[in-house]
């Protein structure tokens, strides 16, 4: 019976995906390549390297955890023209989707558990596999587990996918739990649907990447707020196992709006950065903050996040406004070779990406690939960051803008929309409005424009189209769109 349900759901899911065309490319690859080039990191012939997680070791090697359950240690992946050497450190694991290294031990998140893995006889291969926690139930293949790198206290945060999109059949499916170095498992929050990446935002607060589906009109980056509720109520049945978090929240109404329900359900944490479906990926995945000190170009301290379906890398920035996390996302680089699951900044300040194209529709043609984005040293003309202001937005750019054009309000067009907050799968964009930019004030250094906006809508994605803006050298933006999720309008 169980098996039959699974198959039916699989078929239904496959049918669903079949009917929908994949999103188009942004069409910006040619221009992007001038600033960020894609470097192939060759994989040994015959090795099916489905990268699911990365880590940098103290000796400057790259560690790769794979969906096929291996951990590889790679020499030379950061060389300008890489000819890397792969060594298998461990094998036989169950989808390595989280990898961290501390004091001679790997902290590994696999589907079944969080493990501490060590090489006690120093022969270059793991021989000790210690289960730190397997507290959660695991009875269905879709019950994926994604683990963070260790936080400052040495904890691994694990986001646990629901049993299927609509069920939480075994303990803690749809929850985030924290696994301490001594093997304690602490529930953090409920309401997760189908996570992929998990890690800190640029301010060191733990976030995760959620996929479009039930109760999620589009993909989004969300903050894993302790005691919070991430939006999908089917996991409420495990509150009795998490007494310290109190009783389960009020169940949200379907066919509603997040902005309305967050007033009814006090634990509901607004989705911090919404990635509008297809425009900005279809299955956002692993992310990492650029701490390269400028070695990766002008986006230091921003979040870089991949997408599995569209094989693209995007950027995101977050800020806390009136006590609530929110922010914006921006296109960055398209045309990667496979579905991206994970990314990792290298000691040289490049960004390694990798993944697989199996299982779900993927733009990138290859079954697996390991690639690196290297900054060419040229600064692209891009929207650097958008921040909310009480009366509009502050938009910063990577290069000085053409003052004349940038100071004309009509150079900016803005639409807003939100999604239906519902039990059904995904949502169209709804409740469209068109705010007016009434003033655009360019800073003295021409790197920032303060937009006064008439008609900000709280709870909506604000979709920016800056195709008319030009740089001081009269060049258009590499990407002229950005998307700000305005959960809160800053108090004056």
């Amino acid at each position: 019976m169980h098996l039959r349900t699974t198959i039916l759901i699989l078929l239904a899911l496959a049918g669903n995906l079949q009917a929908e065309p994949l999103g188009e490319y942004w069409g910006t690859a040619e221009e992007e390549a001038k600033y960020y080039r894609i470097v192939e990191v060759p994989i040994p012939e015959g090795m099916a390297l489905e990268a699911g997680s990365f880590e940098i070791l103290p000796d400057n090697r790259l560690a790769i955890g794979t969906r096929r359950g291996n951990i590889f240690l790679v020499d030379g992946a950061f060389d300008e023209n890489p000819q890397p050497q792969f060594k298998r450190f461990a094998s036989g694991l169950d989808e390595v989707t989280g990898l961290s290294f501390k004091d001679g031990a790997f902290y590994v998140t696999q589907q079944t558990e969080v493990s501490r893995i060590t090489d006690t006889d120093s022969d270059g291969r793991a021989d000790q596999f210690e289960t730190l926690s397997d507290k959660w139930g695991f009875r269905h293949y879709h019950e994926f587990a994604f683990g963070s790198k260790l936080d400052k206290d040495g904890n691994t945060w694990v986001a646990l996918c629901l049993s299927e999109s609509y069920r939480s059949k075994v303990p803690f499916r749809g929850w985030c739990v924290k696994v301490t170095p001594d093997g304690k498992t602490l529930p953090v929050c409920s309401g997760i649907r189908s996570p992929c990446g998990i890690g800190p935002n640029e301010h060191g607060v733990m976030f995760y990447a959620e996929s479009q589906g039930p109760w999620n009109g589009s993909c989004s980056l969300k903050v894993l707020q302790p005691g919070g509720f991430m939006g999908h109520p089917v996991s409420f049945n495990w509150y009795p196992l998490a007494k310290e978090l109190g009783p389960a929240p009020v169940v949200p109404n379907s066919q509603s709006r997040l902005e309305i329900e967050r007033k009814r359900v006090k634990e509901l944490v607004p989705y911090a950065v919404v990635f509008p479906y297809k425009k900005m990926g279809r299955s956002i995945s692993g992310f990492m903050v650029d701490r390269t000190g400028g070695k990766f170009g002008p986006f230091e301290n921003q979040i870089f996040i991949g997408d599995f379906s569209l094989s693209v890398v995007m950027r995101a920035t977050t800020e806390k406004v009136n006590g609530v996390w929110q922010g914006a996302c921006y296109p960055f680089r398209e045309g990667l070779a496979t579905g991206l699951l994970a990314c990792q900044f290298t000691p040289k300040g490049d960004l390694i990406v990798g993944g697989t194209n199996r299982g779900w529709p993927v733009r990138g043609p290859r079954p697996y690939a390991l690639q690196r984005l290297d900054w060419t040293g040229k600064i692209p003309f891009e929207i650097k960051e958008i921040k909310a202001r009480p009366d509009g937005f502050a938009v910063t750019f990577t290069k000085p803008v053409d003052r004349k054009i940038a100071s004309q309000p009509e150079s900016y067009s803005l639409t807003t929309y939100t999604h239906i907050y519902q039990q059904g799968y995904g949502s169209p964009e709804v409740d469209h409005t068109t705010p007016q930019v009434t003033a655009a004030v360019v800073s003295a250094d021409r790197l920032r424009v303060d937009l006064r906006v008439d008609g900000l809508v709280q709870g909506h994605v604000h979709d920016f189209d800056l195709q008319h803006v030009r740089s001081a050298e009269s060049r258009p933006l590499v990407h002229s769109n950005a998307y700000y999720t305005l959960n809160e309008i800053p108090n004056k």
């Binding site: 169950d94 589907q111 079944t112």
Partner: protein, 930 residues
């Protein structure tokens, strides 16, 4: 569709009988066997059982070879166009021709043997017979066109036998394939007649002299000095290289020699000689000073690196295959250029660059030479180094081996003088960084006198371009005859000429691979015939490719033909991107009406069926999602719709050779009639539409039926192999272990039990490593024994957990590996910690078995009430010496002191071992033989 399936099944059954029959007559070849049958019976059998679709797939196979001599639309081959045989050719005739080719030779396809005056002989079919010469298609394996002057001919002898080999059908697998082929040939035999005659030029043509002249005007960058008012369309001029790049990468001595005498140092260079009116002494002095100036532009110094012979060897192979020799000359063993006259010559390249310099140029030519004449060959860094090593490793007889002492010493005052010359001589006109550096322009091109200055043969104060008479003539023609405005077609052909696209591609009558360079175009798969190695035609390409795709090919290096060893070079967006719009403007196909359909989902499904083995079997030749097909690696189906225009697809499906002469793609709608009349009522356009709708799904397209995936196997070597995933009968927390001695087990890390054992090969992980991973790991090998659910250890008193759930008192703790990487599983049962360690071992008769050791360590308190459940079964009997037989296949040996007992159980018997656990560790050893 259903009918079609039945046919296939019936055909398979017939085939099965044939194989049985075939075995009884092993010595007989297929042709002998077929010849022993009556023609009539074969004809009837072909009509009844032959499949035109299967025949269509056989026809292009190289091992059968039909396509070498027969191609629709091509009347210059050895055999006739089989689509134009006419109504008079019956299937009886076709069967006879296949089995007895020489019985009746079709008129016009007889062969002759020509004996020349010097006694050479050439056999072939006469393609052209003019008063002065004979053109023959050779019957030898090369099947080349040979032109013989009539005056050289002594005798022409008519041959009696057909050029078609008598035993060709022996290349087929069996009689079924013969019938399929006959059926296919019958189907196409008269479909070509009455259609619009395909026009295929042989290529080889060149653009008009005026346009050639224009290309030269751009090549010599005339507009750097002359105001250019000619309307030259979009062709960019060939600018000069960035000279500051040269420092440290080009030997200063080479620069010096080159400047003093550019044309003798590098024949064919477009760099003019600027000092032809200077004295020999001045020339040398100025060249030296200029060289010091060039060297002063950067602080890199020139160092020669040691060459790597292995790299050079690889480089030679690359140089002759990736496409370098499409423009440059192939080189002999000694590095000498074999076709200097028709090539862009490399000059004394080995004296010019060091390895890093040349490799950098090869890897990113447009960084140095933005005009794109030297294209980017999409070489990896390491390939560029290999080719650089190859090109620099040629040793000339007169070459002096230089030592490091011989380094060039920069002299600042000479450099200063050089800078003055750089401006005064006019180097700056082409090499200058800023427009401001340039002198005012010379007279406009339109006013240039055709016999003076650069265009004269005299030496003077003007640049000497070293032009030959022809070049002078062409430039003069351009200056007098060039049209006021180039039309789109002219702009295309000028660009294609200037960038030498035509060295590889044919477009209408222009260009194409020359006979001399043809052997250097190679393939990874000979089954694709010429289209597998010769770059595709550009005839009508604007009506074929979507503009976005075309731009990606031209600008971003996208490619779709992994079988071509020659790579599509990159010329730079600013130089060639204009071709996209021009091609789209010029190339048009006749209108065609697309089929209408109601339900996209439904028609897509039919399209998927058509692509699979039950339909037209596209996947037997076409790659699908990078998965290469059995017969040949034809273009990936999942990229078709992104690439192609729909109208082109419709035309191509009906008559592939009308758009691509060389393709081995058969038509499944010959003459517009569908071969599969059972699909979509046999309506051609609806069938084509169904395929198109299916292909529109791109990478999401449903996997066609019959796509075979390579098996996955995980096997133990001299060490154990493990995989943690779902196994049959275990939840998701299974841990499989394959041991070197060919025994295997799976441990259930949720219930803490040995879940199953088997022998032989370990496992097929396909169920969890493919797709979303929703399946299970499949044990391979034999002798699988599964144990009942529920933990191995339990309390004697409380009821045993026997469902799929997690037992409340058990906790998995992980495992460690021994020296053979065999796991010792650790878990906790209440306050007892358990180590469960199995090893593979062999008995005295070399039969493998498992020895399992459980070590139990109590945490403080003594436990008297723990029970180990070793097995359950319908029957369990004690055979003696502690050996228990479970269900007549498994023998478990338990230490006799352990007091194991057989107890009744819901589904039969259970073997229980009571354990008294004291304060010290207790060990239980079990042996499993089966």
């Amino acid at each position: 569709m259903k009918n079609g399936m039945k046919q296939v099944i019936r055909a398979t059954l017939v085939l099965g009988c044939l194989i049985v029959a075939g075995n009884s007559a092993l010595a007989q070849t297929l042709s002998e066997k077929l010849k022993s049958e009556s023609t009539e019976s074969l004809v009837v059998a072909a009509r009844e059982r032959g499949s035109a679709v299967r025949g269509a797939v056989l026809f292009p196979l190289q091992k059968i070879g039909c396509v070498n001599c027969h191609a629709p639309g091509n009347d210059r081959l050895l055999g006739p166009d089989l689509t134009k045989l006419g109504k008079s050719v019956t299937d009886t005739h076709l069967v006879e021709s296949l089995l007895h080719p020489s019985k009746v030779i079709r008129k016009g396809f007889e062969t002759v043997t020509v004996v020349t005056n010097v006694g050479q002989t050439v056999s072939g079919r006469i393609i052209e017979d003019s008063p002065n010469q004979l053109v023959l298609r050779e019957t030898s394996d090369k099947r080349e066109l040979v032109t013989i002057s009539k005056s050289d001919i002594d005798q022409v002898v008519q041959n009696k036998t057909s050029s078609m080999p008598a035993n060709l059908v022996d290349q087929l697998k069996d009689r079924g394939q013969f019938l399929d082929l006959v059926r296919y040939l019958t189907e196409i035999s008269s479909t070509g007649t009455g259609q619009v005659k395909r026009k295929h030029s042989q290529g080889g043509g060149v653009i008009s002299e005026a346009l050639q002249g224009l290309v030269l005007l751009k090549e010599f960058n005339c507009s750097a000095c002359h105001q250019d008012d000619t309307n030259t369309g979009s062709l960019t001029a060939k600018g000069a290289p960035r000279i500051s790049w040269s420092t440290g990468r080009i030997d200063p001595r080479h620069i010096e020699q080159f400047l003093a005498s550019p044309h003798s140092v590098k024949p064919g260079t477009t760099m003019p000689h600027l000092m032809s009116s200077h004295s020999e002494v001045d020339r040398k002095r100025i060249a030296t000073e200029l060289t010091h100036y060039v060297v002063s532009l950067s602080d890199r110094s020139f160092v020669r690196h040691k060459l790597d012979a292995q790299a050079a060897k690889r480089g030679r192979e690359l140089f002759h295959t990736v496409g370098c020799v499409a423009c440059h000359s192939p080189r002999g063993d000694d590095g000498a250029e074999l076709r200097p006259d028709t090539s862009v010559r490399l000059g004394r390249i080995e004296q010019k660059y060091n390895v890093d310099g040349l490799a950098e140029l090869l890897e990113n030519p447009h960084g140095v030479r933005p005009s794109g004449r030297m294209p980017n060959m999409q070489l990896t860094h390491w390939e560029a180094i290999d080719i650089a090593n190859y090109l620099l490793s040629r040793k000339l007889p007169d070459q002096v081996t230089r030592t490091t002492d011989d380094r060039f010493k920069l002299n600042a005052s000479l450099a200063k003088k050089g800078e003055t010359h750089f401006k005064q001589l006019g180097c700056v006109q082409c090499h200058g960084v800023n427009d401001a550096d340039r002198k005012p322009r010379s007279i406009p091109l339109a006013d240039v006198r055709l016999d003076k200055g650069c265009l004269s043969t005299e030496a003077g104060a003007w640049p000497q371009f070293g032009m030959n008479t022809k070049q002078r003539h062409l430039i003069r023609t351009a200056l007098t005859d060039l049209p006021v405005k180039l039309d789109a077609q002219q702009q295309i052909s000028t660009t294609l000429t200037a960038f030498r696209c035509l060295n590889c591609h044919q477009r209408d009558e222009l260009g194409g691979v020359s006979a001399g360079r043809n052997p250097h175009f190679q393939t990874t798969n000979p089954n694709l015939g010429p289209q597998g190695r010769i770059p595709p035609t550009l005839t009508g390409v604007g009506a074929k490719l979507n503009p976005t795709w075309m731009r990606q090919v031209l600008v971003s290096g996208r490619s779709i033909r992994p079988y071509l060893k020659t790579r599509m070079p990159q010329y730079g967006a600013e130089n060639v991107a204009h071709l996209v719009d021009l091609f789209q403007q010029v190339d048009q196909l006749p209108e065609i009406e697309f089929a209408k359909f109601k339900d996209q989902k439904e028609i897509r499904k039919v399209g998927a069926e058509m692509a699979g083995t039950g339909g037209l079997n596209c996947i037997v030749c076409h790659t699908f999602q990078l998965k290469q097909a059995a017969n040949m690696p034809a273009v990936d189906l999942t990229e078709m719709a992104e690439r192609l225009q729909k109208k082109w697809f419709y035309h191509y499906m009906r008559d592939p050779q009308s758009l691509s002469l060389n393709t081995v793609m058969p038509s499944f709608w010959p003459g517009g009639r569908a071969m599969r009349k059972d699909i979509l009522d046999g309506d051609t356009n609806t069938q084509v539409e169904a395929l198109w709708q299916y292909l529109l799904d791109g990478r999401q397209a449903r996997t066609p039926r019959g796509l075979i995936r390579e098996p996955l196997e995980l096997l133990a070597t001299d060490e154990a192999v493990m995989l943690r995933r779902s196994y049959p009968g275990i939840g998701k927390r299974g841990i499989g272990v394959g041991y070197p001695n060919q025994v295997n087990l799976a441990f259930d890390a949720e219930q803490m039990r040995l879940a199953m054992i088997w022998k032989g090969k370990f496992a097929d992980p396909g169920g969890v490593w493919r797709s979303q991973g929703h399946g299970r790991v499949r044990p391979l090998g034999t002798g699988l024994i599964q144990f009942a659910p529920g933990p191995d250890l339990g309390d004697a008193d409380s009821p045993w957990t026997v469902d799929e759930g997690r037992p409340p008192q058990h906790r998995f703790k992980g495992y460690s590996l021994d020296e053979k990487r065999r796991p010792k599983f650790n878990y906790q049962f209440a306050d007892i910690s358990v180590e469960d360690y199995s090893v593979d071992t062999v008995d005295s008769s070399n039969r493998p078995f498992i020895r399992r050791t459980l070590t139990l360590r109590p945490d403080g308190s003594n436990r008297q009430d723990v029970v180990f459940r070793a097995a359950t079964g319908k029957t369990i009997t004690l055979e003696g010496n502690g050996v228990f037989l479970v269900d007549s296949s498994l023998r478990i040996r338990v230490d006799e002191n352990r007091k194991a007992s057989i107890v009744d159980h819901t589904s039969g018997k259970e073997l229980r071992i009571p354990l008294q656990i004291q304060d010290k560790p207790s060990t239980l050893i079990l042996e499993y033989r089966w």
